[in-house]
C-alpha cells in the first residue's frame, strides 16, 4: 500500500478511536482533571468561597507546616489505618480462610459478613452510638455495651467510650474496622478460591501441616490480592470521615480529628477555601506516598 494512503488510514483509525473515547475523556477532564488542577491553583490563594481571590504564594503551605492540629489529624488517621491494617484485615483473612473450607452454612456467613460494608456509614454511626451510649436512666445503662458489661459482672469496665480522649479514637477505629472488614473478606475469599486445590494436595503429600501450607502456599499465592486489600484499606481508612461525624459530630475536642474533618472544617467553619485546598494537596501527597511505599514493600516481599 502507498505509504501516504497507509498513513491516512492509520490517522483515520486513530481519529475514530479518539472520538470513541472522547465522551469518557471529557467527563474525566471536567470532573477530575479540572477540579484537581483548580484545587492546586486555589491552594496558593486566600479565598472565602465567594468574591475575589488573593494570591498568597506558599503562605497556606507555610501555615500548614506549623499547624499541629493538622499533623495530629494525620497521626490520628494513621492510627485508624494501623488498626484497620492489622485487626480488620486479620479478621477478614481468618474469616475468608474459614469460609474457603467446606463448612456448613458458608453461604449464610458470606452474606452476614458482607452486611456491615453495605450499610451506610451514617447508619453504622447511629447503631454504634446507641451501643456505646454512656448514659443511665432509672439506674439502668442505656447503651448496650455498658449494659452487657455491667450485667455480666464487669462493672469496672463500664465506660464513656466516645467521651474519653483515651478511648475515643480507638473506639472509632474498631467500629471502622467492623464496618470495613467485609470488603477485605470478599476480596480475600475470591483470591483464595483462585488457588489451585492441587497445590494444597501437593503440599499435603510433601508432609506440610496447616501452618506450612499457610506460609508456603497460601501467602505467596495471595500476595497480589493482599496488596490490593492493603492499598484499599490504607486509602479507605486514611479518608474516614462520615463515620466520625456520625459518631462524635464535630469531634471530641481535637482528639478525633482526621485530615478530611480538618479540610471540611477549614471550608465550612472558617471559610478558608485556599487553606483547605492546601491541606487537600498535602493529604493527597501523603496518600500517594503511603500507597507507593506499600507497593514497594509488597514487591520486595514477592522477590523474597
Amino acid at each position: 500500500m502507498n505509504p501516504k494512503v497507509k498513513a491516512a488510514v492509520i490517522f483515520k483509525d486513530n481519529l475514530q478511536n479518539f472520538f470513541f473515547v472522547l465522551p469518557a475523556l471529557s467527563i474525566f477532564c471536567v470532573f477530575y482533571i479540572y477540579p484537581f488542577l483548580n484545587m492546586i491553583f486555589l491552594s496558593f490563594h486566600e479565598w472565602r468561597g465567594i468574591g475575589p481571590m488573593h494570591f498568597t504564594g506558599l503562605q497556606n503551605y507555610k501555615g500548614l507546616m506549623s499547624d499541629h492540629l493538622w499533623w495530629d489529624s494525620i497521626g490520628h488517621a494513621g492510627y485508624i489505618t494501623l488498626i484497620a491494617l492489622t485487626f480488620q484485615n486479620a479478621l477478614a483473612f481468618a474469616l475468608a480462610l474459614a469460609c474457603d473450607r467446606e463448612i456448613r452454612m458458608k453461604r449464610f456467613y458470606r452474606v452476614v459478613f458482607f452486611i456491615p460494608p453495605v450499610l451506610s456509614e451514617v447508619v453504622v454511626g447511629l447503631i454504634w452510638n446507641w451501643i456505646l451510649n454512656p448514659e443511665m436512666q432509672n439506674g439502668q445503662h442505656i447503651g448496650l455495651l455498658n449494659h452487657l458489661l455491667y450485667t455480666s459482672g464487669f462493672p469496672q469496665l463500664v465506660h464513656n467510650w466516645l467521651g474519653d480522649p483515651k478511648t475515643a479514637l480507638t473506639t472509632i477505629a474498631i467500629v471502622h474496622s467492623w464496618k470495613g472488614f467485609g470488603w477485605g473478606f470478599i476480596v480475600l475469599l475470591a483470591g483464595l478460591q483462585t488457588i489451585d486445590k492441587q497445590l494444597y494436595e501437593a503440599a499435603k503429600i510433601d508432609g506440610a501441616g496447616a501452618w506450612k501450607t499457610f506460609t508456603n502456599v497460601i501467602i505467596p499465592m495471595m500476595l497480589p490480592v493482599i496488596l490490593v486489600v492493603v492499598i484499599l484499606t490504607i486509602l479507605g481508612s486514611m479518608q474516614v470521615f462520615v463515620l466520625i461525624i456520625a459518631m462524635v459530630n464535630e469531634g471530641l475536642v481535637n482528639h478525633t480529628d482526621v485530615p478530611v474533618t480538618r479540610i471540611f472544617s477549614a471550608m465550612q467553619n472558617t471559610n478558608r477555601f485556599g487553606y483547605a485546598c492546601a491541606e487537600a494537596v498535602i493529604f493527597g501527597m501523603v496518600l500517594i506516598g503511603v500507597s507507593f511505599m506499600a507497593k514497594k514493600l509488597s514487591d520486595k516481599a514477592k522477590q523474597v
Partner: protein, 427 residues
C-alpha cells in the same frame, strides 16, 4: 466517520449555546430551601399562590442544611442561583454574596407604603440580614433578606421531672440552677442536656454568660484585641463549664452529642433541663406530644449586666440579584410573610412567625419563646465577630474543660495564644 464528527461538533455547539443563553422573565419562579419540616406547607402555600396570582413557585428542597449551604456557594460561584434562596453561612459570607451582586437590596420594597412590610416583621429578625451604615464588611447599607420565621435559644425545663425532685419553680439565678441540678442528680435524674457536639450551640451558651458577666462592650473589645481572654472575667465564663462538670450537672457524653440526640433525650424525659432553640417545639411535639415543659432564659449569674440570649431570623430568604424575575420573587416573599400565611406556617410547623401580627395565633410555649426576643442578640447583628480560628479554639477549649482535660486558666491561655497568632498574621 465524518458524520460522527459533525454530530459531535453540533452537540458541543448546541450545549454551548444553551449555556450562554441569558435567562428570561417568566411566570415561574424557583425557590431553593433546606427545611424538611416545612416543605409540605411551602408546597401548599405555593399552590395557593398560583391559584391567587397565576404565578407558579417551584419549591425545591435540598437537605441537610450543610449540603444546602455548599450547594448555594457552588451555585453562587457559577451564577446559577434560583430566584429565591437562603444563605445559611456567617454574615461575612452573606456580605461576599452581596458584593458579588447575587443578592437584591430589598430596602425600597420594605419601605414602600410607609414601611408597612418592614414594620410588620420583628426588628431583630430583619437585622440578621441587614447591613448598617459603616458596617465592617464594606456592604452598601440596606435590607437584604426576608425572615420567614424567628428563633431564639433558651433553657427548657421538664415540669414533671422538676416536680418529682420536689422543685416547685424553675431557677431564677445561676446559683439556683446549680442547686436544683444537684437535687435532681440526687434523685437519679440527669439535670441537663444539650447538643454541645455542635460547637455553635456551645458557643451560644458561653456567649450568653459572657454578656452577663462582663457586658457586651467588653466582649466586643476582646474581639478587637483590646481585652485578653486571660482576663479574670473570661476565666469566670470558662469556670462555669468547670463547675457544670464538677457538680454533675451535664449529661455524660455531652461534648460529642449532636443536637438531634439531645432533643431526643429531653423529649423522652431523660434530662430535666435542655438548652435549645425555639424550633424544638415542633421536634418535641413529634417525639413526645405529651411532654410538659416550660421555657426560661438561662438563669443569670450576675446582676451587673443583662443576660442576652441569641435570637434572630430563623430562616431568611434572599432574592437573586441577577434573577429576571426579581419583582415577582419580592412579591411572593411579601405574600409569604403576610399575617395570614405566617399564621398557617406557624400553626403547621410550630415555629415562631416573623410577622409580629401573627403571634396571637401561636401556642403558649411559642409565645413564651417570643417574649425572649426582647432580650435577644445574635452574632449576625454584632458590629464585629471573633476570628473563626479563635472561636474554634474557644469552643474546643470549653469541651476540654468539660471532659476534665484542661483547667479554665489553661484554656484561656490557649485561646489567647491563637488570638495573638491571628493578630500577628494581621487578621
Amino acid at each position: 466517520m465524518r458524520k460522527l464528527a459533525v454530530w459531535c461538533t453540533c452537540l458541543i455547539l448546541l450545549s454551548l449555546t444553551g449555556c450562554s443563553k441569558p435567562p428570561e422573565p417568566s411566570n415561574k419562579i424557583y425557590l431553593w430551601h433546606w427545611m424538611t419540616d416545612r416543605n409540605d406547607t411551602f408546597q401548599k402555600l405555593a399552590q395557593q399562590y398560583k391559584e391567587e396570582t397565576g404565578i407558579e413557585v417551584s419549591i425545591q428542597l435540598f437537605a441537610p442544611s450543610d449540603a444546602y449551604s455548599q450547594k448555594i456557594i457552588a451555585a453562587g460561584q457559577s451564577n446559577v442561583l434560583p430566584d429565591i434562596y437562603g444563605i445559611l453561612d456567617k454574615k461575612s459570607v452573606v456580605a461576599d454574596f452581596i458584593k458579588a451582586g447575587l443578592v437584591l437590596d430589598l430596602t425600597d420594597a420594605m419601605e414602600a407604603d410607609g414601611g408597612k412590610w418592614k414594620d410588620s416583621l420583628f426588628d431583630k429578625a430583619l437585622a440578621d440580614k441587614s447591613f448598617e451604615v459603616g458596617n465592617i464588611y464594606g456592604v452598601k447599607p440596606g435590607i437584604y433578606g426576608v425572615p420567614i420565621d424567628v428563633t431564639n435559644e433558651q433553657l427548657l425545663y421538664n415540669k414533671k421531672l422538676l416536680a418529682k425532685a420536689g422543685i416547685a419553680t424553675p431557677p431564677r439565678t445561676y446559683q439556683e440552677f446549680i442547686k436544683d441540678a444537684q437535687i435532681l442528680r440526687r434523685v437519679g435524674i440527669i439535670p441537663f442536656v444539650s447538643g454541645w457536639g455542635e460547637l455553635w450551640l456551645l458557643d451560644c451558651f458561653a456567649s450568653n454568660y459572657a454578656f452577663n458577666i462582663m457586658g457586651e462592650q467588653k466582649v466586643f473589645a476582646t474581639f478587637r484585641g483590646e481585652v485578653k481572654y486571660t482576663d479574670p472575667e473570661w476565666i469566670k465564663v470558662f469556670n462555669i463549664f468547670a463547675e457544670l462538670h464538677d457538680k454533675g450537672v451535664l449529661m455524660d457524653g455531652i461534648v460529642t452529642k449532636g443536637n438531634k440526640y439531645a432533643e431526643q433525650d429531653f423529649a423522652l424525659e431523660r434530662a430535666a433541663f435542655a438548652f435549645n432553640g425555639s424550633w424544638c417545639v415542633n421536634v418535641y411535639h413529634d417525639m413526645n406530644p405529651h411532654l410538659d415543659y416550660g421555657v426560661i432564659p438561662p438563669p443569670p449569674m450576675s446582676t451587673e449586666w443583662p443576660l442576652k440570649i441569641w435570637g434572630s431570623a430563623g430562616s431568611s430568604f434572599m432574592v437573586n440579584g441577577n434573577s429576571p424575575n426579581k419583582t415577582k420573587a419580592v412579591a411572593f416573599l411579601k405574600w409569604l410573610t403576610s399575617k395570614e400565611q405566617q399564621v398557617v406556617l406557624s400553626k403547621e410547623t410550630n415555629n415562631l412567625p416573623s410577622n409580629k401580627e401573627a403571634l396571637l395565633g401561636v401556642s403558649p410555649i411559642l409565645r413564651d419563646f417570643a417574649t425572649g426576643m426582647d432580650q435577644s442578640t445574635h452574632p449576625n447583628i454584632w458590629p464585629l465577630n471573633e476570628d473563626p480560628s479563635v472561636s474554634e479554639a474557644f469552643d474546643k477549649g470549653i469541651q476540654d474543660i468539660i471532659i476534665g482535660e484542661k483547667t479554665p486558666q489553661q484554656v484561656s491561655e490557649d485561646v489567647q495564644m491563637v488570638k495573638d497568632s491571628q493578630n500577628r498574621h494581621g487578621n
